[in-house]
Amino acid sequence: MAIPLTLQINGRRVEALVAPVTLLVDFIRENLGLTGTHQGCDTAQCGACTVLVDGAAAKSCNLLVAQVNGGAVTTIEGLAAADGALHPMQQAFGRHHGLQCGYCTPGMVMRGVAMAAEDVPAEPEAVRCALSGNLCRCTGYRGIVDAVCEGLQRMRAPQGEAA
């Protein structure tokens, strides 16, 4: 029996009728066509499916869309500004070569963005620890960690220069 949902996706109000079994990641990708969020393992280990739910990082493959009914979800597509300007975290990933194949990248970027609200220091050790729920098979993490450090700095001092 389908259930009615109302939620915010990247700031837009979305209404839908879905089967309760629908996972958030499938709703995002299939129902909304937002395929930036990736399914890497489907067992809540790799983090490629990471989105923000009410501002907090969550693995969308391990959440029912029904659970976020009434809530607000931000996906990788929701980071760039209206005029297309990339989010500071996205820019940092570009500058620091924080991706190779790009499969884990949306999850990494969303996780990085979420760290700002968690007060994670923009330091490699702290960032590595905070990234424990996101796996990358290509890069060896160095570029990712550098990118997240810079991204956090720019998010916290938007007017100023990166430290």
């Binding site: 029996m1 259930i3 089967a19 309760p20 079994v21 996972l23 489907d42 067992t43 809540a44 280990q45 983090g47 990471t50 739910v53 907090a56 990082a57 969550a58 693995k59 391990n62 959440l63 029912l64 029904a66 659970q67 009914n69 996780r111 979420a114 968690e118 905070a130 424990s132 729920g133 996101n134």
Partner: protein
């Protein structure tokens, strides 16, 4: 997943009634264990009762009239407990324990109630609740920690019983150390040592058969709270079960090591009056 019905109750009594009406129904807290099992078709409940609408289960407060005990609601996420100024100030061991569970994405959704009701033999929360002598409060009664955990995935909960929260009494000091399985970050072995006014409690998780108190160590430490008091004491490997990650003997050995280190940490804190 097999299909199911989904409902969000607005009252605890409503949730309990739905559980009672359908023996194949399951409570949904954070869903971090349950949904994973359902996706693999290891579980196929006919109805999921999502508890997130029961805001009274998400409270985290000090019970001033109860000797300054700390109340943590069943639906409090691990992230909320880890970040709570109240918990960090009064029971910092619990904040650290919660912060060490899984990863941040899991911590943002997973809950105290879900963790203890599931009672995974490698979970961290049962060690914290048991060592700190928490009282599990359900919709119908209060269950002391010693009676709550009953073995492998075992709790004293009735099939239609709902955990509302845990009450943690004030204590002298406590520490939790976990030797992680590197991928899952579950406890290969985890030890929580707590010093109460009335004595010492040592709770060991990860041995395989459920949360366990090392009473021999507790008695030795009650006489003298130093790591040396544990000399010659060993956890019997018969208490543990082995698997591909670690043998029973290794887990028993780890339990001894972690207990000693936890005691060393606490003993030095006490000595130098480092704020806990």
């Amino acid at each position: 997943m097999n299909s199911f019905e989904y409902r969000r109750p607005t009252r605890v009594a409503e949730a309990v009634q739905w559980l009672r009406d359908d023996p194949e129904a399951k409570l949904l807290a954070g869903g971090q264990s349950l949904l994973a099992a359902m996706k693999l078709r290891f579980a196929a409940p006919t109805l999921l009762i999502d508890l997130q609408g029961l805001h009274e289960l998400n409270e985290l407060t000090v019970l001033r009239e109860d000797g300054e005990a700390l109340w943590i609601g069943a639906m409090c996420s691990h992230a909320k407990v880890a970040a709570s100024p109240l918990v960090r100030e009064r029971l910092p061991m619990l904040a650290a324990l919660a912060h060490g569970i899984g990863d941040q994405q899991v911590r943002n959704r997973g809950t105290l109630g879900g963790s203890i009701a599931n009672a995974d033999p490698a979970a961290c929360w049962p060690a914290g609740v048991l060592a700190l002598n928490g009282t599990v409060c359900t919709d119908r009664r209060e269950i002391p920690a010693d009676d709550f955990f009953t073995g492998l995935f075992g709790t004293a909960l009735e099939p239609d019983e709902l955990v509302c929260g845990v009450r943690f009494p004030a204590l002298v000091q406590a520490h939790y150390l976990k030797f992680e399985q590197p991928a899952s970050r579950f406890a290969l072995t985890g030890v929580a040592v707590a010093r109460h006014a009335s004595g010492v409690r040592v709770a060991v998780t990860g041995l395989g058969n459920g949360i366990w108190r090392w009473t021999e160590a507790e008695q030795a430490l009650a006489s003298q709270f130093i790591a040396g008091a544990l000399l010659g004491l060993q956890v019997d490997p018969a208490q543990a079960s082995g698997d591909i990650h670690a043998s029973a003997e290794y887990r028993a050995h780890l339990a001894g090591v972690l207990t000693r280190r936890a005691v060393q940490h606490l003993a030095s804190q006490h000595l130098f009056s480092i704020p806990r």
